[in-house]
Subunit: 619 residues, 2 copies
């Protein structure tokens, strides 16, 4: 029915006790001002009603196992164990057609449309507990409510493998999303962090999404990254090895006892290291014997590569592989290269639930994606093990707010960081040269001196910074000179005196930042400071809070990470203190929603701990 008839019809449904409906009709949010108004009315009405609605402007949903197709798409996908959720109906229906040819089976398909009621999070939560579903894949253009999505994804991904393709990764793509659906895609980086932290993975292309789904639908997750390649073609063995290394899998040599068993079985021209090259004339028996000799524990994943040679019996090899690996607790994939001459064998493998590809590279990529998913899901749930003093922080906040402050500097933020247990080189104010000298004396030398003025942003440019002062006399002289110099340079500026701060020498300068994503709330970023962040954009981001394992993963992501572990014989930084600072900082962002953003720059990390040297923030 046309859009204007939808709301009256839903009202009738409610009157008759209908518990759920699909609204396929377009003409809502995606359709100009009138449509937006119509959707607004629908949403408002739905809020108070017992009926659950999918849509409007969606394709509907399909439950193949019950032969129930509540969409306007023809046909019925094959029943299976993959649940597929999509923000785009057109894309989804085209993919279902494509999947039909690949004999991929679905437990549920749902097109979400404008999500006036049911969202991607609702469907994720539902399929997490659906017995028919083993793998969940989604095409996502943006999420309705980031934090809720993240929490649902955490629960769902703990139960089942989840693979998502998000459109709008690039700036141009995000613009296209917004003109396509009227929805904001949100920060792609925050989405990425959410998926990673929840223990799910993102696919890089439509094909990758479904290849991963296929692998996960029938194969176990690998327990590690060791890939074994068994082939009858040396060239394709090398191609497989290159692909494995590029996607982070290891092609380690087989253990000596296995090699000895293979040596006894195989012709002298065979290679028994890894790839295991059975040589071009390998028949089904040779594949079978080799796999039996190798056994189920030699690697974490197995790739069987077959090239069509003159006498190749692809079905025989497929049967041999299926028989020899029955019950192996590692994922298998095949790459049968040779078009029509191997297609019967490839089909036999797939019938036995072993995904089979036309070339080794996509097979390796799929196994690598499965390994990544396994690693992400293996992260143990952690609860923070540190104590913080939020009451103290909130009290200070109250004072700053009462004073009408919004831009915060190190003088404001040091007590806040301190109440969260983040060590600070806390500055102290001084109005005169004498006061500065006495403050410095109490602090211990060396100290740094900075002019204190709400009107001067670039202190260095007006001679408002002095470093490494080593005595009370030096401090007094420097203060007097600085105040005179800055007053001369900026006669109109209010100058409140100077800040005296303990000097921090040595160590690596890092940056710790927090911004609130419009979708996903507080996010924390860590990176190397200075030109590294500016030129290399060498930073890692996560949603807050951040468990220690994620803090460590953030540091591992940095290209400059080796500097933390000590290069050229330097001592490594105090990793424990650094990880803790990241976690405490993220907790601060969670506990103090009034803090819009904060950046500690630099956070100096050295062998004996970390210390925040400067910070800026905004209420």
């Amino acid at each position: 029915m046309p859009a204007p008839a939808v709301l009256p019809a839903l009202k009738e449904c409610v009157a008759k006790g209908v518990p759920a409906a699909v609204v396929i009709s377009a003409g809502f949010r995606e359709n100009g001002e009138e449509g937006r108004k119509r959707e607004g009315e629908l949403r408002e009405w739905l809020g108070g009603q017992p009926i659950r609605v999918l849509g409007p402007n969606c394709l509907g949903w399909i439950r193949p196992s019950r032969r129930l197709n509540v969409t306007f798409a023809p046909g019925m996908p094959q029943a299976g164990n993959i649940a597929f959720v999509s923000h785009s109906g057109a894309l989804a229906v085209a993919i279902l057609d494509w999947a039909q040819e690949r004999r991929m089976g679905f437990s549920l398909f749902a097109s979400l449309g404008n999500q006036a009621d049911i969202t991607e999070s609702d469907v994720l939560g539902a399929v997490a507990c659906d017995d028919e579903t083993r793998v969940i894949v989604g095409y996502i253009e943006g999420v309705a409510e980031g934090r809720h999505f993240f929490e649902t994804l955490c629960e769902t991904a703990a139960l089942k493998p989840v693979v998502l393709l998000k459109a709008g990764r690039s700036e141009e793509g995000a613009r296209a999303v917004s003109s396509h659906t009227g929805a904001l895609a949100g920060s792609d980086r925050a989405f990425d962090a959410a998926v990673r932290q929840a223990g799910a993975v993102r696919a890089g292309s439509v094909e990758e999404l479904f290849e991963l789904a296929r692998g996960l639908a029938s194969q176990p997750l690998p327990r590690g990254r060791r890939l074994l390649v068994v082939t009858n073609g040396g060239g394709l063995g090398i191609v497989s090895t290159d692909a494995a290394r590029e996607s982070g899998l290891e092609v380690a040599p087989l253990a000596d006892p296995v090699r000895r068993r293979l040596d006894a079985l195989l012709p002298p021209t065979a290679s028994v290291v890894n790839p295991v090259d059975l040589v071009g004339d390998a028949d089904a028996a040779r594949y079978s014997n080799a796999l039996h000799a190798i056994g189920p524990s030699a690697a974490d994943a197995l790739l069987v590569v077959l090239t069509a040679q003159a006498a190749t019996d692809s079905v025989g090899v497929a049967r041999a592989v299926i028989g020899a690996t029955r019950g192996w607790p590692v994922p298998l994939a095949g790459a049968f290269v040779g078009g029509a001459r191997v297609s019967a064998g490839a089909r036999a493998l797939e019938d036995a639930g072993i995904p089979c590809y036309a070339f080794p590279e996509p097979a390796v990529k799929t196994l690598a994606g499965m390994a990544l998913l396994a690693e992400r899901r293996a992260h143990p749930p952690e609860t923070p093990r540190f104590t913080v003093r939020p009451a103290e922080a909130r009290e200070q906040f109250g004072r700053l707010k009462a004073a009408g402050r919004s831009q915060l500097g190190m003088l404001d933020l040091a007590p806040l960081l301190d109440s969260y247990g983040i060590p600070c080189a806390a500055p102290r104010p001084a109005a005169t040269a004498a006061e500065a000298a006495s403050v410095a004396e109490g602090m211990g030398f060396p100290v740094a001196l900075k002019v204190r003025s709400p009107d001067i942003t670039h202190k260095t440019e007006v001679g408002g910074v002095r470093l490494g002062l080593r005595s009370a006399d030096e401090v007094a002289t420097a203060t007097a000179e600085m105040l005179a110099r800055v007053t001369a340079a900026r006669p109109a500026a209010t100058i409140e005196g100077v800040l005296v701060q303990p000097m921090v020498e040595g160590g690596k300068e890092l940056l710790l930042g927090m911004v609130r994503d419009s979708q996903f709330g507080p996010t924390v970023m860590v990176g190397f400071g200075g030109i590294y962040v500016e030129v290399l954009k060498d930073t890692a981001m996560r949603l807050c809070p951040v468990p220690v394992s994620e803090a460590r993963a953030m540091l591992d992501e940095l290209r400059m990470a080796p500097l933390l572990h000590g290069v050229r014989g330097e001592a490594p930084v105090d990793m424990r203190a650094l990880l803790e600072a990241i976690c405490r900082f993220a907790q601060l962002a969670v506990d103090l929603p009034e803090l819009a953003e904060i950046e500690v720059n630099p956070l100096v990390a050295g062998p004996a701990g970390v210390i925040a040297v400067d910070a800026r923030g905004r209420l």
Copy 2:
């Protein structure tokens, strides 16, 4: 015939005037000591004979247009314009089978085997001039002679698009290559530089290799990176946009006049920016009208995306696309998503020579690969425009050799660099404090002082370096102290005095290195010095000589490149001087084969020029 019978048979061939032969027989280099000896004999004999031989241990060659199959593989590939050269017979024959299904046509197929006579370079050179061949693709495991290969590739790639897949990219892969063929894969980085400098491209996977071949076989090269996407599905438009950005293509908005023409044609829900979204119910006429309105000059490449909707007429859309774009000078690709429901349309596109894919991403990747190839081929051939003094350099070399020197320091290398026009902070030796002071006086201040001793490598550790000395007195005192200190620290070391060197202050520290690759000869490397090269491995490499355009491309490749252009308001470095220094340095490597390796570190680049501050080398 078996291996031992090969040589006698070839002798008979020569006696009978047979000009060429294919040796399929295995049992040569790949087969133990006896095989290696047999191949040695064959090679030696072949050197003096008029017969040309492909093999041994190869599959042979096929010329489909003449229905000539000189291999032991059954069947006959479709005739076409793709020449395919392969180091692996097994891989190649499997691919030919796969290509058959894709209806890919070949002008020549050649399996090279052990290359006792005919090498990949010979075949490349031959197909470069073959009228039937439009595109050349190769599977390469290593090259017979790097420099010769590079030169042939330069000539070939200037005439025809060349795409190569090289196995052994990873260390593990290289090891597998060497156990597979007994050949050394050589440095993969040098191979990469050779392909790039010759104007060819490397494929990342077997599928990419052939998808690029398909695109290049029928479509023109793009003249730029602007991609236009026309679709009936918003979601797939976004997916295309993301893929384009990730592979370096631009999805720029269409020009206003084009948008106005489209606006007048399309329904109000359509999007006329880019992607052009014709909306789900787009029929063939709408595709045709839109393409006519867009015209041939709106972009450098065109991707037409079709998703199967209820009433989609894929053949109609294909015909509309073919008709509307006839004669367009830009490459086209299709992505028809929907399996069986769009396969007839996809086939119609392919019959018209427009490659069509199941999803947008591989289509975009292919167009991006074509754009890269076009850019590489567009590089104008350059001849060096600087003068150097090789005679002077050779004379110095003679002196160093005569003195039995092999490890060279800055004192030896500065005159050499100078004779190639590379500015140097040339050090001068001084035996005593007084002499050092007088040398420094002649040089101008500030100067640096370093102890001069063949026995001390790490000068800093023994207090053998002093920087920033600003007067003759300072120099005299520092020299006396240094000589005493170093003598005390290393009583056994021969101390020849000190080196006095002009101080170079400010600027960026780069590194300029040359090593001779076992396959490709002299290669030059540039990168940022210190931790950048150590931790980030931020370097670029090329084969020598290096034209200015390649020197510029090397700098552009560096992740830290923005530092050269000036960040935070710094002045940019003298780019012209830096590029010239790279080119001159590369020329030095070409002209002086006695120099095994040399590293200038640091080469300091500032706004007013570049200067070599230290260098090490080896004869």
